[in-house]
């Protein structure tokens, strides 16, 4: 121990007088403001324990004087959000589909809402931009199985196609091969005939007259005399350039042999009416809407 009043020559500060191996300790007390802040944090912590839920008990925890819980505050936040959005969505729910298309603000709201909901619910089958895939219709083009007006699109979204809903779109394509209605060579013939309807090349030497006859006897009931399809039954137009399952001969043979019955689920009950309306407007505005 040396004299406490010794001054360190480099720093100009007093030392504590402690010395270890020739190293002396400077007397540098904590600043008073720091010490005060430290005590204040202790006081604050005690207050916090009392006011907020803090201590775990055996089966629960102290609830705190304020009765605060994160779950309750989340409920409040969600209610607020609902209140903020509810107003706009109520406007949307009240407006007719045609009105929405005419009002730029409503159209923008419906498209924005529809786009998000589409991403959450429809994108798994139809793709994030509605581009579709084999068996899942492209919603950007102008070919519609069940109709492309706003009302028709909304109808399809609400009830689905071949879904479990009572009002769903009915109808499916028969399995002409599997059920023994047509023989394999007849299927090849009519497949080539169908290809010819939309101007696709056909197998050389196939019997056009026979194809036409098979088509008239088996297919016109659904696809129509002119093969332009029937949206009541979801029967596609066979004369255009758009093919849901593919237009090559092998795919057509498979389609005719086994039939097709793509299913779209009904969204009524799962999504609220305003949301379904917004989605219909969004799908309509993708570019294919009539």
């Amino acid at each position: 121990m040396t004299d406490h009043s010794e001054i360190d020559s480099v720093t100009g500060r007093a030392t504590t007088g402690h010395e270890w191996d020739g190293i002396k300790e400077l007397n540098t007390p904590l600043p008073r403001w720091w010490v005060i802040c430290f005590y204040l944090t202790i006081v604050w912590a005690i207050g916090y324990w009392i006011v907020y839920p803090a201590w775990p008990l055996i089966s629960s925890n102290t609830t705190g004087l304020l009765g605060y819980s994160t779950r309750a505050s989340l409920a409040v936040e969600l209610a607020n959000l609902e209140a903020v959005r509810g107003e706009k969505m109520a406007t949307l729910a009240a407006a007719s589909l045609a009105d929405i298309e005419k009002d730029p603000a409503l159209l923008a709201l419906a498209r924005a809402k529809g786009k998000t909901v589409f991403g959450d619910n429809c994108a798994p089958c139809h793709g994030s931009g509605g581009a579709g895939a084999k068996g899942f219709p492209n919603l950007n083009d102008d070919d519609w199985l069940w109709g492309g007006t706003l009302d028709q699109i909304m109808q399809t979204i609400r009830f689905g196609a071949r879904s479990t809903h009572a009002d769903t779109h009915p109808g499916q394509m028969l399995a002409f091969g599997k059920d023994g209605v047509l023989k394999p060579d007849e299927i090849v013939t009519v497949a080539n005939y169908v290809r010819s309807l939309s101007g696709l090349p056909t197998r050389p030497g196939y019997d056009v007259a026979k194809g036409k006859k098979i088509f008239a006897e088996n297919c016109v009931a659904c696809h129509g005399d002119d093969a332009k399809g029937n949206q009541e039954l979801g029967a596609p137009n066979l004369t255009d350039k758009i093919w849901l399952y593919g237009s090559d001969e092998a795919t057509l043979i498979e389609t005719i042999s086994n039939g097709r019955a793509g299913v779209m689920p009904a969204w009524e009950g799962r999504l609220d009416p305003a949301t379904i309306k917004a989605m219909a407007v969004y799908v309509h505005s993708l570019g294919g809407g009539k």
């Binding site: 720093t11 159209l107 492209n138 505005s285 570019g287």
Partner: protein, 488 residues
């Protein structure tokens, strides 16, 4: 105290002392003179601009803010007199920052730390706070004596302290208040603030700026310049031997001696200095340094020591500017008995001026020719192209139209792309043959879905460029954007 100072041995620190010293409280004395007057003038100008600019009005028409300078964060707009900037025009601020930085360099290469001494907010507000302190508590000697003796807390003393801090807090509060006025309509906000109707964020910002002003100008003062601000370090890299700095003319000042003794020695024809060691230059210094120790980091070059020294020189009948603005070259030249030289036109001042002129010119040109109508196009990615039932190909685009003007516009949209292509805008207000039209409200953007369809016989084999033109059918102002038209 009479020691001869050799400039080559000048240091701001006494090397024999401790490396660490406790902060010494600075009591700058009041002073009058040329540089003090310049400082008062610049302080009045700077504070005047800061405090009153939000109240300047500018007529922009109905529904538009009528405040000359307004940063409208909720609507993402910046208004500066006749200029209205959108967020995507942030590069104007980049330009402004470049000009400001180079202007600072130029200032520095000509006159040293003019910014520090006269214009820096820290200097201006500290100067104001010092003025208040002197007004309430008396000048240097009085305050030093009181602080040294401890002083008893008489009623007079307590009321002085209370008055000083009240005035400081009022200034600080007004500083914070003026700040928030730049972000909202000033008269409205003042009314709301007074009736406690203003948004919480306004009170929070006023609180923050009141606190910083009060603490920085009232308590930290020169320590901000010495320890917190990077500029003293940076300016050392910017200055050169031709830059004017506040300088003690040691060749004239040394050897220091008393007036009387100097007169006697002069009468004998001996060489003596003009400096009488009166310490007035130290007394008035807001950073508490002795300029006679040569250029130093703490010196903000406010020139108050020049005033102090000039006053003394006048009194003792010696020429003024024993301390004055001078450059490093002349220190050496005077020592060698040569006439001083001053050079403002130098490589670096020319270069800085050129940069300022170039950047400023580009900004003015861009500002003068800036379009109030703009269009951005984004191609749909999924799907990139759609084949329609008749075999034609359609591409979809998201088009964003910007109407930066103060009136609603009717915009016609055309596309130059594949031959015989038709364009369709979802939700178009009207369609003339092949030309959708849309109304865009003033000062807003509209996002549209635009479909371009190329007939089957013109199907392009690969991606071809397509150019979208948007035309204000009233004024004919046009903007365009390019994208591609692709096949599936």
């Amino acid at each position: 105290m009479n020691k001869t100072v050799n400039p080559n041995e000048l240091t701001s620190d006494d090397d024999n002392g401790p490396l660490y010293v406790a902060q010494k409280k600075v009591y700058p004395q009041s002073i009058s003179g040329t540089f003090r007057r310049i400082k008062w003038g610049l302080m009045a100008f700077c504070l005047g601009v800061y405090y009153f600019l939000p109240f300047v009005r500018w007529n922009r028409g109905l529904d538009a803010p009528s405040q000359a300078v307004l940063i409208d964060l909720p609507n993402s707009r910046f208004y500066f007199f006749f200029i209205e900037l959108w967020p995507q025009e942030i590069y104007y601020f980049t330009g402004l920052l470049i000009v400001a930085a180079v202007a600072l360099f130029l200032m520095n290469s000509i006159g040293g730390r003019i910014w520090c001494g006269y214009l820096c907010p820290q200097t201006v507000w500290t100067d104001l706070f010092y003025a208040v302190e002197r007004f309430v508590e008396g000048d240097r000697r009085e305050r030093m004596r009181r602080d040294k003796s401890g002083g008893s807390l008489t009623f007079k003393r307590v009321s002085e302290i209370a008055l000083k801090h009240s005035i400081w807090l009022m200034i600080a509060w007004w500083t914070g208040g003026a700040w928030v006025l730049y972000f909202n309509d000033a008269p409205t906000l003042v009314k709301e603030l007074l009736t406690f109707q203003a948004p919480m964020i306004a009170y929070i910002w006023i609180g923050i700026l009141t606190a910083t002003t009060y603490v920085l100008a009232g308590f930290m003062r020169e320590q901000v310049c010495t320890y917190m601000c990077p500029w003293p370090r940076i300016q050392a890299a910017l200055t050169d031997e031709w830059a004017l700095n506040v300088t003690y003319r040691y060749d004239r000042g040394e050897k220091r001696t008393s007036v009387k003794k100097a007169a006697e020695l002069r009468a004998l024809g001996q060489q003596v200095g003009d400096c009488v060691d009166c310490y007035q230059c130290v007394a008035v210094c807001p950073t508490g340094i002795d300029i006679r120790n040569g250029p130093q980091l703490e010196c903000i070059q406010c020139g108050l020591c020049i005033d102090a020294c000039d006053n003394v020189m006048t009194k003792i009948g010696r020429p003024k500017r024993l301390i004055g603005y001078d450059n490093d070259v002349n220190i050496q030249r005077r020592r060698d008995g040569k006439a001083p030289v001053y050079r403002i036109v130098r490589a670096r001042t020319v270069a800085y001026s050129a940069i300022i002129t170039a950047v400023g010119g580009i900004m003015l040109y861009v500002l003068a020719t800036r379009s109030l109508l703009d269009v951005n196009v984004l191609h749909d990615r999924n799907p990139v192209a759609v084949r329609l039932s008749d075999g034609s190909i359609r591409n979809a685009y998201t088009v964003r139209l910007l109407n930066k003007s103060g009136y609603d516009r009717v915009i016609a949209i055309d596309a130059d792309g594949p031959a015989n292509a038709t364009i369709h805008v979802v939700g178009a207000d009207s369609v003339t043959p092949d030309r959708p039209m849309i109304v865009i409200p003033r000062d807003s953007t509209s996002e549209l879905r635009l479909l371009v369809t190329a007939p089957a016989e013109n199907n392009p084999e690969k991606s071809i460029p397509v150019r979208f033109h948007v035309t204000d059918i009233g004024l004919g102002e046009m903007a365009s954007a390019t994208d591609n038209f692709v096949s599936p």
